[in-house]
Amino acid sequence: MDNVVELKNLKVTFVAKQSFLKELLMKEQPLVRAVDGVNVTIKKGEILSLVGESGSGKTTLGKAILNLVDIADGEILFQNQVVNFHHKQEVRRFRQKAQVIFQDPYQSLNPKSLIIDIVAEPLEVNRLIKTEAERNERVMKALHDAGLDPPERYLYRYPYELSGGQRQRVAIASALILNPEFIVADEPVSMLDVSIRTGILKLLVELKESKGLTFLFITHDLSLAWLISDRIAIMYLGKIMEIGESDTVIKQAVHPYTQALLEVMPIPEVNRHRQRKVLSGETPNPTNIPAGCRFHPRCPHAFDRCREEEPVLQAARSNHLAACHLIEKETSQENSHD
């Protein structure tokens, strides 16, 4: 199972918007550490979900992989080698293999282009087609793969004439037309109604199975992640807190943050009596990340070590990692008991 994407200690930072005068006096500018040292591998043919609240850096990480955002530190290996983004040919080959689906179906298509042009654009931009016939044929196939049948009905229409679900399928068709191997799907269904959403999720899973496509599925909804992905990674303030098989992470969560997310996750059931244990406050501002474990100020089990030393991803059980000192504390207690 070779790796499609490998992130080594990836860091992405932005310069926080800052007053004109301070800028003038070249004062040290506060940095937003959006992605703050992430090590993760995405294997071929799997859907890895990246789950986190707003401000966790999940979208920035997705954009970094696609070179839509500059990296501050660390390395991104695509199919085991670093892509040199200054070399035109190499970038073109990378673009054909790695594609993206955005969240907002109403804004991710150019309102002034016909559907046929939107879907065919990746071909034209990378100069991959010679004749018009070949172009139309590939567009029709991509629309069919995205579940828009009969394709002819959609070719010569404008985005405003389609529903949200249909537009998202056009975006998927446009991503599929280059026969990519890896797709970053950034909250692809969060703006769709439930009845339409499941259709898109089914399509993504089918594409994974039929074409062996690899997905990075970015979402804030833990239950969706559980539904469609093989592995789940929980992200908080720019770092991965926990990563493992989707069932193990949901059923045997180790990290207190994942447990808190599971606790508040809405479930379509009647549980009138249970008053949910809710974390206080909101995700702090990524310009001043707390010392030691970044979750300790809101963590119910925080102890002194959490305040000083930042925990590293370590194995809680086979291929289920978590960045939390509780793991050592428990294993050391077990050793001390025996």
């Binding site: 249909q166 109604d193 259709g199 804030h220 479930i267 949910r276």
Partner: protein, 321 residues
Amino acid sequence: MKLLRVENLKTYFHISEGIVKAVDDVSFSLDDGQCLGLVGESGCGKTTTALSINRLLPPEGIIEGGEIYLESVKLTVLSDVEIRKHRWKDVSMVFQGAMNAMNPVMKIGEQIAEAVVWHQQVTHQQAWNRAKELFELVELEPGRIGGYPHEFSGGMKQRAMIAMALACDPKLVIGDEPTTALDVMVQAQILNLLDRLRKTLKMGLIIITHDLSILGETCDRIAVMYAGKIVEIGSTEDVYDRHMHPYTHRLLMGFPNIHRPKLMPEPIPGSPPDLIRPPSGCRFHPRCDYAQEICQEQEPGMTTAGNGHSYACHFGGAFNG
């Protein structure tokens, strides 16, 4: 006496393309201190129903028929001037995108105090103190009432909106997707807050949402809407465990439940109907797997399936067969 009674409400939008029958013969009621969840997908008419109560519809939206009673007062016959007295004093609202729902150039404390001064004719200083009390009630730091909306985070803005809604001790608060724009953690905080306030202040609460799964702990009753009509209404237990309408069933299946085995739900084919020329008979028939001849011709009336639980389908529960 019921706190709120809505009977055969019809609200249509007159636009250039034609007449949109956004709400077409909707009836439901609410007791004092009770919480009703109004759930449905976009375009089903849930927000229009809420805006019709206070008559906050845009100019092209007109209440064509039906009655709305707030306790003994018949709202639908009141003139524009008369209905203003009931807005916020009896029925107040918490809107969705809190980012834009507050005046960006006016202090938040002022936006709360102005309603108190207007309806309860108190001095500005008294209203300002009232605003401080309300901030404490919604667990916000009273010192911050002098701040402006852009200085508050998403969660804090929503709490401020709730404080604003409670300013005149209303009998009924309507939340239009109050937690949709929030993170799941903050959403839980807000839902807990709404639940606590409803119980302590004994006020009626209507929560409008497209997310059926969040109504589990907060609502006593749930009404499911589709294409301008209520297709099923009942207690939370009725709708979750004993629902009879195929649309409610499909909607519920769409929300993955980690306590149950992992199964990829079937999407509902087709897309929401065009409300200018809605489908004949039962409006869900073009997308329903159990639709038969009669569904196309005859619109199903409300069949009762237990006390307070009724649905609009000729073949209720067909999905259980």
